[in-house]
């Protein structure tokens, strides 16, 4: 995020695009509620009537997959009605003329069929955003999980640049990062194209710096993105194939799109290494399993969604009967055994090595993290007076070589797999508020499991339910070109009739059996938010319920849980 979470409530207008904070980050959604209370206007852009839509001044319930058409159209209105911040554009950006040219064809009338939004509402949104004086954009997976994703982000950035909503308190553009340390994994260079601190692997000076620090020659060829692993296993020629896969703290056999393809590739990889705290679906394919300590059993630093470094601390020891090691220790031992010795005695020692290699993190010492609790990078000086940076691009200075922001002129493109006669509905994933990711954490928590459990729900418009003659709670079969799964029907008028929604936490209601592995060409993010599907009624509900129970028992057995009594519960 270009701005801090704590700044959200001070914005005068929140432009919330494809971001359902109430389910993905309740404590960020809290700031949206507080902003509203403090008098902020809210524009919510989402195909569902999400919680933010309920309290919004304007809800644009756009058609799934029409994001960039709408964003460009909002820009068109801002230009057409003379609402641009001309001074900011002139001083701090380039490429505006080309962008202006592109926008001409995106009149609200021209995009209304694509977006299903009335032109008046697009105009209203544009005026509100451009004139509030302090507008902040928040976006989420409803922007990122499309084959056209990065370009929509650029489109949203266009809006912020053209109205001067950058580089001040309570403005900017905020991708609210999903997982607890997804920001941190990126910060640390767990990315195929960058070293820690976003230093590109293809830049010779940077390569030389890391070669000197690490004492070995390094590759200047960008690596393979995770989402392309199935492709590299199944479809590339022999000399380019992936042969070994070291999976660390994740479960691609549950979280990645088109699970049938993921399973096929895991079967074919010669060596699968799983390092985790719980057995998971990927573990079923592992040749070796390395057990590690979990959250609350080790020290370290996480980066939250707004670039904030914060300490995590050890609360308890691992269970007495667990022969587990710290993650960094396991990797160091393997490395040493392979002839590249790595030896650290604690996380602070590792952290000091990290920050000394990353100019943007250099000042974020453990000492300061202890003292201040939270440091948002950039933090470029070890001096105690440098407490980090709440918002980026101060005084309109951007991270490009010339210090200017660049307008991107890009046309909308439709999603990859459209509805058809066989699969007439739009399928999209969403989030279950009480569960997390692949569920090996939250699914093993008593109360969260009580609140929601297998096989999860499919959100369907009541009219669609009526047509299919399915009722609330009934088990239904959901099918795409790639696979199918079983889940429960949840009729709700918060979704339109054309689209259905499932959360990806469930193992029986595993919606990634359905999803399409079409990727955004820049971010390599899959199109989780759009593929074609159909929903079928299951006539024999008794059979379906029995199938569900048996499948659940089988999963638990496969995951190493001893069959046990039903806890003394009355029969």
């Amino acid at each position: 995020m270009s701005n801090g979470v704590h700044e959200i409530e001070d914005a005068k207008l929140l432009f919330v695009f494809g971001y359902n904070g109430a389910d993905s980050h309740p404590i960020v959604a809290r700031r949206i509620v507080r902003a509203k209370r403090k008098g902020a206007q809210i524009i919510c852009i989402d195909p569902r009537r999400i919680e933010t839509a309920r309290i919004a001044d304007l809800h644009l319930q756009l058609r799934n997959g029409s994001n960039l058409a709408l964003v460009n159209s909002i820009a068109q209105v801002i230009i057409e009605e003379g609402l641009c911040d001309d001074k900011f554009i002139a001083e701090h950006s380039h490429g505006f003329d080309e962008f202006k040219e592109l926008c001409k064809k995106y009149t609200p009338e021209a995009v209304t069929d694509i977006t299903q939004i009335h032109p008046d509402d697009i105009r209203k949104a544009a005026r509100m955003y451009a004139t509030s004086g302090q507008s902040m954009i928040l976006y989420g997976m409803g922007v990122c999980q499309f084959a056209q994703a990065v370009n929509v982000v650029k489109g949203l950035a266009n809006l912020a640049i053209m109205t001067g909503n950058f580089g001040r308190w309570g403005v900017g553009i905020g991708p609210v990062r999903g997982q607890n340390n997804v920001q941190g994994a990126c910060d640390m260079g767990a990315l195929p194209n960058s070293y820690p601190g976003y230093q590109n692997v293809t830049v010779p000076e940077i390569q030389a710096k890391f070669e000197k620090a690490w004492g070995v020659p390094l590759s200047n060829k960008a690596g393979i993105p995770l989402t392309q692993v199935p492709h590299y296993v199944l479809h590339e020629p022999e000399e380019k194939k992936i042969r070994a896969y070291y999976v660390f703290g994740e479960d691609p056999a549950q979280s990645d799109p088109d699970l049938a393809e993921v399973r096929e590739s895991l079967e074919k990889i010669e060596l699968v290494i799983l390092q985790d705290i719980y057995m998971n679906k990927t573990g079923q394919y592992a040749d070796v399993v390395l057990p590690s300590t979990g959250w609350n059993e080790h020290e370290g630093v996480y980066s939250c969604c707004d670039r904030g470094f914060q300490r995590i601390r050890k609360v308890i020891d691992p269970p007495a009967d667990a022969d587990v090691l710290y993650d960094w220790d396991i990797i160091s031992r393997i490395s040493t055994s392979m002839g590249y010795p790595m030896k650290y005695s604690n996380t602070e020692e590792i952290w000091n090595e990290v920050i000394d290699l990353c100019p943007s993190f250099v000042g974020a010492t453990y000492e300061k993290l202890e003292k201040y609790g939270n440091i948002q990078w950039p933090c470029r000086s070890k001096d105690m007076s440098d407490t980090g940076t709440s918002f980026l691009h101060k005084d309109g200075k951007f991270a490009n070589p010339d210090g200017k922001a660049k307008f991107s002129s890009i046309d909308w493109q439709p999603p990859t797999e459209l509805e058809n006669d066989e699969f007439p509905l739009i399928f999209s994933t969403n989030r279950e508020v009480g569960h997390y990711s692949v569920r090996t954490m939250s699914g093993n928590c008593r109360l969260l499991r009580n609140l929601e459990d297998e096989p999860g729900w499919i959100q369907m418009n009541p009219e669609l339910c009526e047509e299919l003659r399915v009722k609330h709670g009934e088990l239904v079969k959901v099918i795409s070109k790639r696979g199918h799964c079983i889940t429960r029907c949840l009729p709700t008028d918060r979704v339109k009739k054309q689209a259905v929604y499932m959360t990806y936490q469930w193992w029986i209601g595993a919606c990634n059996e359905l999803t399409n592995a079409a990727l955004d060409p820049i971010s390599n993010t899959p199109e989780y938010k759009y593929c074609a599907c159909r929903v079928e009624k299951i006539k024999d509900q008794i059979w379906a319920e029995k199938y569900l129970r048996e499948e659940y028992a089988k999963i638990r057995q496969d995951m190493g849980i001893a069959t046990k009594k039903k806890g003394g519960k009355a029969a």
């Binding site: 309740p26 508020v433 609140l451």
Partner: protein, 183 residues
């Protein structure tokens, strides 16, 4: 006057932290120590989501409760400003669930209490304002958006005064409307 927990749909984000808090408050922290199937998960409130509203629905602790009026087994009483159900006396006839105009009373199967003949007991269940429990009501204590509050006699009067004032201000002429109101 009996107190009650009121939810504000403009603040509620439907996250259901309150729902779990209710169970933890009533079952106790032993939950974390015991067999995961060794306790009952029966929240006494339910978060309802419609097109316009998300908010927990729970007992209003009526002054003249319909549930109490229809109860044939004298299982429902008013005590210390709250409407309470005596599980032991409840015969599970469901009259109270029908009588309650808010849907705030529901039936729950008890996992660990049996009838004298060994059959499973089902009883009426609803919010008891965390009767006898420390730091209650638990739901409003954990709500991350402060969407819930306990309304008691004084609060209700203040809420009503505010309402009365707002109605009058809205009905006044513009020049009067902009003058500061004095209570």
């Amino acid at each position: 006057m009996n107190g009650f927990v009121q939810g504000d749909p403009l603040l509620c984000i439907g996250c259901r932290t309150c729902t779990i808090a209710c169970v933890v408050a009533h079952e106790g922290k032993r939950i974390y120590e015991i067999d995961p199937d060794g306790y009952d998960f029966h929240p006494r409130l339910k978060v309802i989501k419609t097109w316009a509203v998300s908010v927990p629905v729970q007992c209003k602790h009526c002054e003249n409760p319909a549930c109490k009026a229809v109860c044939r087994s004298e299982a429902i009483r008013i005590e210390d400003g709250r409407v309470l159900i005596d599980r032991q006396k409840c015969i599970g006839c469901k009259s109270c669930t029908e009588a309650c105009p808010f849907g705030a009373v529901h039936m729950v199967p008890l996992g660990f209490e049996l009838n004298p003949d060994g059959s499973r007991r089902s009883v009426a269940h609803k919010c008891d304002l965390c009767n006898g429990l420390e730091d209650g009501p638990a739901c409003l204590r954990v709500c991350p958006t402060e969407a819930l509050r306990l309304v008691e006699r004084d609060d209700l009067e203040a809420i009503l005064d505010n309402k009365r004032k707002n109605v009058l201000v809205a009905a006044s002429s513009p020049e009067l409307r902009n003058r500061p109101t004095v209570c």
